[in-house]
C-alpha cells in the first residue's frame, strides 16, 4: 500500500503524537445519519477486508476509553454548553486518533471509522460554532484516504430510523436547538440542517456521496469497488 500523503489544506497541522513515522495503512470514513445503514455496511466491509488478509480496526463517535462513557452521561444531564460539548467530542475522537488510529495506520492496518470529524463539525456548526474555530480544532486530525457520505432523504431517514428504534432520540432530533417543540418536525428540520453542512463540506473534502436508499448489497458492492482501487 502506498503511504498516505496529504491532499487537502484543511489538515494543515501535524499532531505531536505522529513523531514523524509514516502512516502506511488506510483510514476509511463512513459518514451519514443514524438509520442510513452505516454500521451494516461497516460490518460487511470489515469481514471482507479481513478475508482478503488486511488487519482491520474500527473507531467511532463516543467510543473512546477516555471520554465515551462520560460524554454519554454528560449529555443526559442536559447542562453541557455547545462549546463544552464540541470539546468533549473532540477529546473523544482525538483519544481514538492517538491511541487507535495512529498505531493502527503505523502497523499498515485499515481503520474503518463509523463517523469522523465531519459529523462533529456539522453538529457544532448548526449549533452556532464558528467555522474557523472548528477548522482549527480538527486541523491536526489524520486525513482520511476516503470519505463515503451515506445520503438518505430526511423523510425516508425518519422511516428507517423509526423502524429501528421505535422512538426519536432527543439529540438525534436536535431538540436542544429549539427548532420545533414537536419532535417529529424537529427531526426533519435538524437532519435537513446537518445535510446542508455535509453538502458544504462535500466538495472541499472530496466526499464520495453514496445513495443509501438502495439495497444493502448494491451499496456494499459500490463500496468494495471503490475501496479496491484505493488498496491497489
Amino acid at each position: 500500500m502506498p503511504y498516505t500523503t496529504k491532499k487537502s489544506d484543511f489538515f494543515s497541522r501535524e499532531l505531536p503524537e505522529l513523531e514523524g513515522r509514516p502512516l502506511a495503512g488506510k483510514l476509511i470514513v463512513i459518514e451519514g445519519a443514524d438509520g442510513s445503514g452505516r454500521s451494516t455496511q461497516i460490518r460487511l466491509l470489515g469481514r471482507w477486508l479481513e478475508s482478503k488478509g488486511y488487519a482491520v480496526n474500527q473507531v467511532g463517535i463516543k467510543r473512546s476509553n477516555l471520554a465515551g462513557e462520560q460524554l454519554t452521561l454528560a449529555q443526559k444531564s442536559n447542562v453541557m454548553t455547545n462549546k463544552t460539548m464540541a470539546l468533549f467530542y473532540a477529546t473523544d475522537l482525538y483519544d481514538q486518533i492517538v491511541n487507535q488510529i495512529i498505531p493502527s495506520l503505523n502497523a499498515s492496518a485499515i481503520v474503518l471509522a463509523d463517523r469522523y470529524i465531519y459529523t462533529l463539525m456539522a453538529r457544532a456548526l448548526v449549533r452556532g460554532a464558528g467555522t474557523d474555530w472548528m477548522r482549527n480544532l480538527y486541523s491536526p486530525a489524520i486525513e482520511p484516504d476516503a470519505v463515503f457520505y451515506f445520503k438518505v432523504a430526511p423523510d425516508q431517514l425518519l422511516e428507517r430510523y423509526l423502524n429501528k428504534t421505535r422512538s426519536l432520540d432527543y439529540w438525534e432530533s436536535g431538540m436542544d436547538l429549539g427548532l420545533s417543540k414537536d419532535v417529529f418536525d424537529s427531526f426533519l428540520k435538524y437532519q435537513g440542517l446537518i445535510d446542508e453542512e455535509f453538502s458544504k463540506m462535500s466538495g472541499p473534502h472530496e466526499f464520495e456521496t453514496i445513495d443509501a436508499s438502495r439495497p444493502v448489497f448494491a451499496i456494499q458492492k459500490e463500496l468494495r469497488n471503490k475501496i479496491k482501487s484505493l488498496l491497489e
Partner: protein, 246 residues
C-alpha cells in the same frame, strides 16, 4: 484571547509554577474579599464536575497523550467558563481563577503541542483584568516541591513524555520547559509579575494594592449580609488577621 466586553464583573487570575505559592495568595485574596462582604467567586483549574471522571480515567490508565491532555483540560475550562465564570462576571462578581488559560499554553507547549493551535482553541476566553504571575526561580520552586520527596503524579512529573524514568528528574525537565513558556507569556501578554520569593504577607500586600488600584471594591458589595457572623468565617484567629484589610 478576547478583549474584555463591558460586563460589570472583574476577572482576576493567578499563574505560576507548581510551588510558586500562587494558590496560597489567591486563597488569601478570596478571604480578604469575603471578609469585606464582596461578591466573589473562586474557581480552580481542572475542577469541572462534568469532566472530572474522564480526566481521572485518562490519568489512571496513563492513556492521555499531549493532544488529549490538552483537550480534556480545554473541555474542563469551557464548562467552567460558560456555566460559571462568564455568567458571574455578567452578574457583577469578582471572579478569582487559580490558573487560567496560560496554564494550558505553558503545559501544552511543554508537551510539544503547537502554541497557536492551543491559543485558537481558547480564543473565546476573555483577557483577565489582572493576571498575576508568581515568578520564582526554577530551582526555588523545585526545592519547595521536591524537598519532602513527595510522590509525584505521572502527568504532574511529565513522565508521559518519556524523557527519563526518574520522576524527580522528569519533573525538573518538565517544570523547566513550563518556566520558559511562562517567561515568554509574561512579555507577550503583559502578565503582572509578583516576586514570589518574598514573604507571604509581603506578597499579599502587593497583590491587594494592585487589586485595589484596578477594582473599585465598594461597588462589589453583596446586597445582603452573610448569614455567618464574620468571626465564624475563619478557622483560626491568624486567618482572620491575615484577611484584615492591609
Amino acid at each position: 484571547m478576547k478583549e474584555k466586553p463591558s460586563y460589570p464583573g472583574k476577572l482576576i487570575a493567578v499563574e505560576g509554577l507548581d510551588g510558586s505559592g500562587k494558590s496560597t495568595q489567591i486563597y488569601l485574596v478570596k478571604r480578604w474579599l469575603q471578609s469585606r462582604h464582596l461578591k466573589v467567586f473562586f474557581t480552580e483549574w481542572n475542577s469541572s464536575s462534568l469532566v472530572k471522571d474522564a480526566t481521572r480515567r485518562g490519568k489512571q490508565s496513563h492513556s492521555l497523550k499531549p493532544t488529549t491532555f490538552s483537550l480534556i483540560h480545554a473541555t474542563d475550562f469551557a464548562d467552567r467558563y460558560e456555566r460559571q465564570i462568564l455568567p458571574l462576571l455578567r452578574a457583577g462578581y469578582i471572579v478569582l481563577c487559580d490558573r487560567y488559560i496560560f496554564t494550558a499554553f505553558a503545559r501544552d507547549r511543554a508537551r510539544g503541542v503547537e502554541q497557536d493551535w492551543v491559543a485558537n482553541v481558547y480564543d473565546y476566553a476573555i483577557e483577565p483584568d489582572i493576571t498575576f504571575y508568581f515568578r520564582v526561580p526554577l530551582e526555588v520552586s523545585l526545592n519547595r516541591i521536591l524537598r519532602g520527596r513527595p510522590e509525584l503524579g505521572y502527568f504532574e512529573a511529565g513522565l508521559d513524555m518519556g524523557w527519563t524514568f526518574d520522576p524527580y528528574e522528569s519533573f525538573r525537565i518538565f517544570q523547566g520547559k513550563v518556566f520558559n513558556v511562562y517567561e515568554e507569556l509574561t512579555d507577550s501578554y503583559g502578565l503582572t509579575v509578583i516576586d514570589a520569593e518574598k514573604e507571604i504577607p509581603e506578597q499579599q500586600k502587593e497583590v491587594r494594592r494592585i487589586i485595589k488600584s484596578h477594582v473599585d471594591l465598594k461597588s462589589y458589595k453583596l446586597p445582603y449580609m452573610p448569614r455567618l457572623p464574620l468571626d465564624l468565617m475563619f478557622d483560626t484567629e491568624a486567618e482572620m488577621d491575615n484577611a484584615a484589610d492591609l
